[in-house]
């Protein structure tokens, strides 16, 4: 069975500092990988996705993630965060032969302080 682990439930960081949100997955078959962001009182918004090809994926708002097959990781990074990046971030995996159903991690709450 597939599973997703987000290693940090909360990440506090100062404005303009770099940040990495960690995500590991387990699957015996090829997967698609996603990062979603949820701002307070809003729905989930797609940040970026890995389907195939280049392992470095760039998304919206300056975020990027790197797919590492050997370590089964898909960590999310941003070189300089803003106050407006404060939100909950979810890593998810989709297995192609299961109709696109997403398995989500537990989420990481990113809190950016001035």
């Amino acid at each position: 069975a597939q599973s997703v682990t987000q290693l940090d439930s909360q990440v506090p960081v100062f404005e303009e500092a770099p940040v990495e949100l960690r995500c590991n997955y387990s699957s015996s078959v090829s997967v698609y990988l996603f990062w979603y962001v949820q701002y307070p009182n809003q729905g989930l918004q797609l940040l970026l996705k890995y389907l195939s090809g280049s392992t470095l994926v760039k998304g919206i708002n300056g975020f990027e993630a790197e797919f590492n097959k050997s370590q089964t990781s898909f960590h999310l990074r941003k070189p300089s965060v803003h106050i407006s990046d404060t939100a909950e971030y979810f890593c998810a995996v989709s297995v192609g032969n299961q109709g696109g159903k997403l398995i989500f991690g537990q989420g990481t709450e990113l809190s950016v302080k001035p």
Binding site: Q42, L44, Q45, L46, K49, A92, G99, G100, K101, I103
Partner: protein
């Protein structure tokens, strides 16, 4: 419409009552998904519709939960005899095809509170 629309945005109900939650997907999106987001449980898959195929109900937590999708468009999630543990945000998403490569578009959710 331009996005996935869910109604109501908030619902407070008494324990034991039935509730219906509605989802209007993006026009032309053939796949529709329901997820539940609750404290301590994260995001859980509930049910998935794809075109005219039989829905994947593998995530429904009990037989009190059911969903239908009429005309391949609007979907209704029904919870019968609500319990306090049903309190959560219920999220609907739609996608072109099976969502894998395309990713989803989520609605803003319905916050259900059972008192």
């Amino acid at each position: 419409g331009a996005g996935v629309s869910q109604s109501p945005s908030n619902k407070v109900t008494e324990k034991g009552k039935d509730v219906e939650l509605r989802c209007d997907p993006i026009s032309g999106h053939t796949a529709l998904y329901w997820y539940r987001q609750s404290l301590g449980q994260g995001l859980e898959f509930l049910i998935y519709f794809q075109g005219n195929s039989a829905p994947d109900k593998s995530g429904l937590p009990s037989d009190r939960f059911s969903a239908e999708r009429t005309g391949g468009s609007v979907s209704t999630l029904t919870i019968q005899r609500t319990q306090q543990e049903d309190s959560a945000v219920y999220l609907c998403a739609s996608s072109l095809g099976t969502g894998g490569p395309a990713g989803y578009t989520f609605g803003s959710g319905t916050r259900l509170t059972v008192v």
